[in-house]
C-alpha cells in the first residue's frame, strides 16, 4: 500500500475525506429527484380530511383486501419459496442456474407481462387453467385467489433470493454438529438451519410482502378490478386518481407509510451503522 493510499483511507475513516464537487452535484440532484415527489405528495395531502377520506367503505375494503392478498402471497412464498431456496443453496443438479434464472425472472419482467402470462397459463382457456376449470370447476381470474397468485408470482423471487443468500452465508458446521449428535435431517433443518437463517428469512419475507402490497400490473391484468374481491390498494389508488384526487393521495400516503415502516424495520440489515 502506498503512502498516498494509506493517507486517503485514514482520511476516510476519520471523516476528513471530502467528496469532490463533481460527484456531490449530481448526488444532490439525485437526492432531490427522489425526494421531491414525496414532498409533492405530502404537500398536496388533505390532512384535515384525511380521516374521512380513509374511512370510506371503499378505502377500508381495499385496505383489508390488500392485507389479505399480500399476506396470502407471503404465505405461498414461504411455503414454496423456502424449500426452493434450500434446494438451490444446498444441492447441485443439472440446470440449477437455469432454475435460478427462472426464479428471478418475475423480478425483472414487467408485471403486466406477468399478468398476461398468468392469464394464458391459469386463465379459463389457459394451459393449466382449462384443466382446472374442467376437472375441478375452479377459475382463478377475477377471484381473490387470483389476486393472491398474481402477487405471489411477482413477489416470491424476493424471498427466494434473500433466503438463498442467507443459507449460503451461514456456517454449516452447526448443521454438521447437529447431525453428529444424532439429529435427523428434518430436525436439523427445523432446529438449526431455520433459526440461523431467520434474519435473512425475515428480511426476505418483509421485502416479499412490500412487493406484494404494491403489486399492480399483474393483478389488474390477471385478476381484474372489483371492489372487495380484487381491487387492492394500488388499483384503488389508480382508479381514484381519475375521479377523486384527494382520495388517491390519502391512499398513496398509507402505502408510503407502510413502505417506510418496512425500511425502518430492515434498516439494520441494509444500512449497518458499523
Amino acid at each position: 500500500m502506498t503512502a498516498a493510499v494509506r493517507r486517503r483511507r485514514a482520511d476516510a475513516s476519520s471523516g476528513r475525506n471530502r467528496a469532490p464537487v463533481l460527484f456531490v452535484v449530481p448526488a444532490v440532484v439525485a437526492v432531490g429527484f427522489l425526494a421531491v415527489p414525496l414532498v409533492g405528495l405530502l404537500g398536496r395531502t388533505p390532512w384535515t380530511s384525511m380521516a374521512t377520506e380513509l374511512a370510506t367503505p371503499r378505502v377500508l375494503e381495499a385496505l383489508r383486501l390488500s392485507l389479505v392478498c399480500s399476506l396470502g402471497a407471503v404465505g405461498i412464498s414461504l411455503l414454496l419459496g423456502v424449500p426452493l431456496a434450500f434446494v438451490l443453496a444446498r444441492f447441485e443438479f443439472p440446470g440449477r442456474n437455469l432454475v435460478r434464472a427462472l426464479t428471478t425472472l418475475p423480478m425483472v419482467l414487467p408485471p403486466v407481462v406477468g399478468g398476461v402470462a398468468l392469464l394464458l397459463a391459469f386463465g379459463r382457456r389457459g394451459l393449466a387453467g382449462q384443466w382446472l376449470d374442467r376437472a375441478l370447476g375452479i377459475t382463478l381470474p377475477f377471484t381473490t385467489t387470483g389476486a393472491i397468485l398474481a402477487e405471489a408470482f411477482v413477489a416470491m423471487p424476493f424471498l427466494v433470493i434473500t433466503t438463498e443468500a442467507g443459507l449460503r452465508a451461514m456456517d454449516r458446521r452447526f448443521e454438521d454438529a447437529a447431525a453428529t449428535l444424532g439429529a435427523g435431517r428434518w430436525t436439523t433443518f427445523r432446529r438449526v438451519t431455520l433459526p440461523l437463517v431467520a434474519p435473512s428469512l425475515g428480511a426476505g419475507a418483509a421485502l416479499c410482502w412490500a412487493r406484494a402490497l404494491g403489486e399492480f400490473g399483474a393483478t389488474i391484468t390477471f385478476a381484474g378490478n372489483l371492489p372487495g374481491v380484487t381491487q387492492t390498494m394500488p388499483l384503488a389508488v389508480y382508479l381514484a386518481l381519475e375521479t377523486d384526487l384527494d382520495a388517491a393521495i390519502a391512499l398513496s400516503l398509507v402505502l408510503l407509510a407502510i413502505s417506510l415502516a418496512v425500511l425502518v424495520a430492515l434498516r439494520d440489515r441494509w444500512f449497518p451503522t458499523a
Binding site: 464537487v21 456531490v24 452535484v25 448526488a27 381470474p141 381484474g224 372489483l226 374481491v229 381519475e242 375521479t243
Partner: protein, 258 residues
C-alpha cells in the same frame, strides 16, 4: 469547509434543476408538442377510427405527425387537469369534457355510439339480451363506473331493471373486449364500435333501441396547446364530411341531436 462545499454543491444543483425546468418557458410557455406534431388525447373506443383519421391528417398537412394517447376518457381528463401536453381532447362522454371545461375551447359533439353486449364468437352461452346478463353462471365484465362506457352500461342496466354482478370493472372499454375475446369473461357491455374493432373473436348482441343509450362524443382543442391552428384543423377534419365518413365506416353514428 465540508459545510460550505455541500452548500455550494446544493446551490449548483438547484440552479441546474431550475435551468432545466425553465428551459421550455421559451418562447411561449406552453407545455404542448413542438410544431409539426399534434397530440390528440382520445377515448379508447376511438382507437381505430382516429388512427385512420390521423393518417389522413398527416397526409393532408405536410407530414404533421399525430401522436395519440388512447385511454379511458376519465383518465385523459385527469391527465389534462394535471397539465399533460395535449392539443386536442376527444371524450366518450360530456361528463369528462365538462371536467376540463376551463382548459379547453368550446366542445363540439362529433359522433354518437350505441352500446352492445359483447360475447364470444358463436355466442356459446346463448345471450339474447340484458336480462340474461343477470344470470349467476355468466361471468360479466363491465367498464368501471368512472369510465364513460361503464356509466352508460350502468344506466342501461338500471333502466332495464337488470341486476348484474360483474366479476370485474375494467379501467377502459377495450379491456372489457379483451377479457371476452380471451374467453375469461362470457359477456360485457361495450360500444357497438368496439365489437366491430374486436375482430373475429367476438360478436355483438344488440340492445333494443328503447333500452339503449346513445353515447355522445365531444371534441375540443386544448387551450394550453401551442399549435392551436393544427389542433383546430384536426377538429375540423373530424367534423368534416370526410371525417364523418371515416367515423361511420367504423360504426359510429352521426352526432345525436339532443
Amino acid at each position: 469547509m465540508l459545510r460550505t462545499r455541500i452548500r455550494l454543491a446544493a446551490m449548483l444543483a438547484v440552479a441546474l434543476v431550475l435551468a432545466a425546468c425553465g428551459g421550455d418557458d421559451e418562447p411561449s410557455g406552453g407545455t404542448s408538442a413542438s410544431p409539426g406534431e399534434l397530440r390528440v388525447f382520445a377515448a379508447a373506443s376511438l382507437t381505430a377510427a382516429f388512427g385512420k383519421l390521423g393518417e389522413q391528417f398527416t397526409a393532408a398537412n405536410g407530414g404533421t405527425k399525430v401522436t395519440f394517447n388512447f385511454a379511458g376518457s376519465q383518465a385523459l381528463a385527469t391527465q389534462i387537469q394535471q397539465g399533460a401536453p395535449a392539443d386536442v381532447f376527444a371524450s366518450a362522454d360530456t361528463t369528462n369534457m365538462d371536467k376540463v371545461k376551463d382548459l379547453v375551447g368550446a366542445p363540439q359533439v362529433f359522433a354518437g355510439n350505441l352500446l352492445q353486449i359483447v360475447v364470444e364468437k358463436g355466442n356459446p352461452k346463448g345471450v339474447k339480451g340484458l336480462d340474461d346478463l343477470a344470470s349467476s353462471d355468466l361471468k360479466v365484465v363491465l367498464a368501471a363506473e368512472e369510465v364513460p362506457a361503464g356509466r352508460y352500461a350502468k344506466q342501461i342496466l338500471d333502466q332495464a331493471g337488470a341486476s348484474v354482478q360483474p366479476v370485474s370493472q375494467e379501467d377502459n372499454v377495450k379491456a372489457v373486449v379483451t377479457k371476452v375475446s380471451l374467453g375469461e369473461a362470457d359477456a360485457g357491455i361495450v360500444y357497438a364500435t368496439d365489437v366491430t374493432a374486436g375482430g373475429d373473436k367476438v360478436e355483438g348482441v344488440d340492445i333494443p333501441r328503447e333500452q339503449n343509450v346513445v353515447a355522445a362524443y365531444p371534441i375540443a382543442t386544448v387551450e394550453a396547446s401551442r399549435t392551436q391552428d393544427q389542433a383546430q384543423a384536426f377538429v375540423d377534419l373530424v367534423r368534416s364530411a370526410e371525417g364523418q365518413g371515416v367515423l361511420q365506416s367504423f360504426g359510429f353514428l352521426p352526432p345525436p341531436t339532443s
